[in-house]
């Protein structure tokens, strides 16, 4: 009985991962790098795990989340005239602003824009007082975010960077990440939503179940947006996959070849 159940579980997992076991080769792939491809199902099979000291365990390989596409209920995004002018230029059908997205040139996507590739969250150490949390990205480029968990403050005048200066704290089971010190180079979206160096983000990560990471983001940038706004997102666990090497600079030949306004991959 146990064996049969285990077999069913394996079959279900393989189906969820998007592969059917037709050969030992495919079976091997489903166990490791590049094998799964799929997210976990929509149903959380178990509660969120915890570290030995009781903290919520956010570690794992995740896919999705981020972006500015889903405004929280009651929220609105209102650009300042400064931001609107930049955005209108990027949307101008008579320009080729599609070529100007730094993301196209394999530069980082900043916060909170994400690529369609998985990312891994790492809490360290897991035994003893937490000092850092890292978010390791497969793409758009191999890069990482560093979140200080040791109680330090932001520097008074941080040098502007792509991912900014992040400090984190726990509010119950929610990791709250406060980031300042961004540069103004990355775009929030394919469409070219702008921001300034005044950008301040507050992210709230809550693992609501084994497979689900709720990720809400408040964007506060008085130069670019008339008032702060909050977006919601959700990442899904990819239990059968791993990070793969993704060197975007390896063979990127698209820069300068795009035509027309900044639009998304689906033409949106």
């Amino acid at each position: 009985m146990k064996t049969r159940l285990a077999g069913l579980a394996v079959a279900a997992a393989a189906f969820t991962a998007g592969l059917i076991l037709v050969s030992p080769a495919s079976a091997a792939r489903s166990q490791g790098r590049g094998g799964g491809g799929g997210n976990a199902g929509d149903v959380d099979a178990a509660p969120a795990p915890r570290l030995p000291d009781g903290r919520s365990d956010l570690s794992g390989l995740w896919n999705g989340g981020g972006g500015i596409g889903n405004l929280a209920p009651g929220e609105e995004m209102v650009m300042t005239p400064w931001a609107q002018e930049i955005f209108d230029y990027r949307q101008d059908p008579n320009q080729d602003a599609a070529n100007e997205d730094p993301n196209l040139y394999c530069l980082p996507s900043g916060v909170p824009r994400m690529s369609p590739y998985p990312w891994r969250m790492i809490q360290t150490p897991t035994h003893g007082p937490e000092t850092h949390i890292f978010i390791i990205f497969e793409g758009n480029i191999h890069s990482y975010r560093q979140i200080f968990m040791d109680g330090r403050d932001h520097p008074e005048d941080p040098d502007p960077t792509w991912y900014g200066h992040s400090i984190g704290r726990w509010e119950g089971d929610t990791l709250v990440v406060d980031t300042v010190g961004f540069n103004d180079l990355f775009w929030f979206s394919f469409q070219g939503h702008p921001h300034s160096e005044q950008l301040h983000t507050i992210e709230r990560f809550t693992r609501t179940g084994l497979n689900t990471l709720q990720w809400d983001i408040t964007i506060d940038d008085p130069t670019a947006y008339e008032k702060p706004f909050t977006v919601t997102s959700r990442a899904r666990l990819m239990p059968n996959d791993d990070l793969m090497e993704y060197i975007c600079q390896e063979n990127n030949t698209s820069g300068g070849r795009l035509r027309g306004p900044a639009i998304g991959p689906g033409g949106e």
């Binding site: 059917i20 196209l104 369609p116 975007c248 795009l258």
Partner: protein, 129 residues
């Protein structure tokens, strides 16, 4: 081995509920979604790379003039997750592709949909967007 792989690809694609779409840039800003051309020729080179896999095909026209086309697929990582391997397509393979033409007028195209090999095998390259 190749046949077995092609079968695997076909099955994996049909079963895959989470085929990831490429999102490094606006696909339709580089290629014209309304201009598609059937290209038939022999594969001369394959670059199994990110952010795109590229393969090059010699196409002979009715006057015997050979043009080498630079054809784009999704990233190596996305294709791998969708069941491809780096030897799914080989130099010397005869292939037919419905490619979306580059907006800049160069001999570049984006090959979405199926790649048909001379022996009838199909390799799924991703949905047109």
């Amino acid at each position: 081995m190749k046949i077995r792989f092609a079968v695997l690809v076909g099955i994996a694609i049909f079963m895959n509920v989470s085929v990831q779409t490429y999102a490094h840039h606006a696909w339709s800003a580089e290629y014209d979604a309304n201009v598609q051309k059937e290209l038939k020729g022999v594969v001369t080179r394959i670059e199994w790379t990110n952010p795109h896999v590229r393969f090059y095909v010699d196409v002979v026209d009715e006057n015997g003039v050979v043009t080498n086309w630079d054809l784009e697929l999704q990233s190596a990582n996305t294709l791998t997750r969708n069941g491809w391997t780096r030897d799914a397509l080989g130099v010397g393979d005869e292939v037919t592709v419905n490619a979306y033409m580059a907006r800049d007028g160069s001999n570049r195209g984006n090959s979405r949909g199926n790649l048909r090999l001379a022996d009838g095998r199909l390799l799924f390259a991703g949905e047109p967007e």
